[in-house]
């Protein structure tokens, strides 16, 4: 069975919000749109976005990590938002696991958003229906687009390639491989929702240098007849 999803690489996401606006851009004029903006030029502008990038600080100065954290619907394998919907407007597609809302059926009761622990559904105040990430269904199967562009808008736009799109049930997909090789994890596993989207953790590259590496017989100082200073400690005694 196919389960399409996004794998988000927190190791490279720089928090540029490109995925945020490019998502909005594609979707507002597409099958999911129009996505309203209220007070667009006034106090407290607010609008419908399917994807948001947040920032967290982990730890205390100077051992601080700044985490940029993009979040859209996780297309849960056990999506609590679906069974609670009284109209069937919220549904999970059998063929590819995408969780969608049928805007023509939705009565705007917001109940599904209560059931979702992740805060990724957004009620569109203009159309009075629940909206959310569609995984760009209107792109990924769009025969009019070249094969390479049949990917979600956010994935294509992301400058760091931090968004990997694919079938997480297919162990051969880049998405699955990234999850297994890089320790991809789901959010709030305790909620039992089994999110299809996964996140790849930070990974640190360090460069330990052994003190003997600092000494070399071919040291260029010797060419000029100067002895490299003994290390450690560094004496500032390297004049001639």
């Amino acid at each position: 069975m196919t389960q399409l999803a996004l794998v988000i690489d927190l190791n490279v996401c720089v928090g540029c919000h490109s995925c945020v606006t490019n998502c909005k851009q594609w979707n507002t004029s597409g099958a999911a749109g129009p996505l309203v903006d209220e007070n667009p030029y006034d106090k407290d502008p607010t609008g419908t976005f399917f994807n948001r990038v947040q920032t967290f600080e982990v730890g205390s100065y100077p051992q601080t990590e700044t985490m940029h954290f993009p979040k859209s619907c996780l297309h849960c394998e056990d999506p609590p938002c679906v069974p609670v919907c009284p109209t069937g407007a919220s549904y999970k597609r059998k063929e590819d696991g995408i969780v969608l809302v049928d805007y023509d059926k939705c009565i705007g009761c917001k109940y599904c958003s209560w059931a979702c622990p992740y805060g990724v559904r957004e009620f569109d105040e203009e159309r009075k229906v629940m909206t959310k990430c569609t995984l760009c269904v209107d792109r990924i199967y769009n025969e009019k687009l070249p094969e390479a562009e049949r990917k979600p808008s956010c994935v294509i736009a992301c400058p760091t390639g931090a968004r990997i799109f694919g079938d997480v049930h297919d162990p051969e997909s880049t998405a699955s491989k990234a999850i297994s090789e890089r320790g991809g994890y789901p959010l709030m596993p305790e909620c039992g929702t089994r999110p299809a989207n996964h996140y790849l953790p930070r990974h640190k590259t360090s460069m330990p240098i052994r003190s003997e590496q600092l000494y070399r017989s071919d040291n260029p100082l010797k060419v000029d007849s100067i002895e490299p200073i003994p290390m450690p400690p560094a004496h500032e005694d390297f004049t001639t």
């Binding site: 609008g47 920032t55 600080e57 919907c85 069937g88 009565i107 059931a115 805060g119 629940m130 959010l187």
Partner: protein
């Protein structure tokens, strides 16, 4: 959660309606000697209350004209079930009233069915909230029990006030029943409050973003002017306000009615006030019920930056 007034009215109004019905039906079962009009007007009151509740609920919908669709998913959705149960209950009450009007012998049978519907509706309404697993404050059998007890208590208080005008001989017994039910509801609600106060959230900042570190602080939630997620899931009131609401609703919905019901046995006019106070208290109680529920999604919406 942000308390939605439509839902507050819906649940409190239909709760009282269901409670009133149960009291009426119990009266009939107890073979009390009352005129048919007592049942008919009572049913009308019930229908009025539930009708108002139903009306209020429409205000909660983005697309009320599509409300009929909400019956579709009764297999999985408690909301759908509630949507079916409420009109069914109302139909039951209507049938019950008609039967009394006609002097039909079917009143007991229809009342029995309607009782089942009333209880079903209580369960559905309670389960609408209790079924949301991520909202730990709600996801408890106490939610259903309390919806039921509170509905019955307010229904009984209403019944006692109603009886003042229509069947004064019943006021005392109704008031006693109302006291008992209000007391039970107080116990049930207090149990829920105690439980919730001791709840440890299963979901933490750590599991929300998948980082194991004791100190994680959000610096930006990604939208500064607010979003659906900052409006729907926050009560938007200060901690102090929340703290003051709790004693207020305990007094208004439980202690004051208990006292007034007690005095009302001898001074029946107070029973009407008892109901009004209790109803106002229950509005506050229901407001608090929402406000107290801290949705795990709020972990993601803590800091504007």
């Amino acid at each position: 959660m942000r308390p939605a007034f439509s839902v507050i009215f819906l649940t409190t109004l239909i709760g009282a309606a269901q409670g009133l019905f149960l009291v009426l039906y119990a009266t009939e079962l107890a073979h009390a000697e009352v005129a048919a009009s007592f049942y008919i007007i009572g049913s009308a009151v019930i229908l009025l209350l539930s009708g108002l509740g139903l009306l209020a609920s429409f205000f909660h919908l983005g697309h009320p004209e599509r409300a009929w669709r909400a019956a579709a998913m009764w297999r999985t959705s408690w909301l759908s079930r509630e949507v079916i149960a409420l009109p069914a209950f109302m139909a039951g009450v209507f049938g019950y009233a008609c039967a009394h009007w006609n002097g039909s012998a079917a009143t007991a049978a229809i009342g029995g069915v309607t009782t089942v519907l009333a209880i079903t509706l209580f369960v559905c309404t309670g389960m609408v909230y209790a079924a949301i697993k991520v909202l730990k404050e709600w996801a408890s059998p106490l939610t259903i029990v309390n919806f039921m007890l509170i509905g019955c208590a307010s229904g009984a208080t209403l019944a006692s006030a109603y009886a003042v005008f229509t069947a004064p001989e019943l006021t005392a017994i109704y008031a006693r029943a109302a006291m008992a039910l209000t007391f039970a509801a107080l116990v049930g609600r207090s149990a829920a409050l105690l439980r919730n106060a001791r709840l440890k959230p299963a979901t933490t900042m750590q599991s929300a973003i998948g980082v194991r570190h004791p100190r994680i602080v959000q610096r930006s939630q990604g939208a500064m002017g607010g979003s659906f997620n900052t409006r729907e899931f926050f009560h938007g009131k200060s901690e102090a306000f929340i703290r003051s609401i709790k004693p207020a609703f305990l007094v208004l919905a439980f202690f004051a009615p208990l006292l007034l019901l007690f005095i009302g046995i001898s001074t029946p006019t107070l029973l009407l006030i008892a109901f009004l106070l209790q109803y106002i208290g229950l509005l506050a109680e229901r407001w608090f019920f929402f406000a107290e529920a801290n949705h795990p999604q709020n972990l993601y919406y803590q800091t504007i930056g």
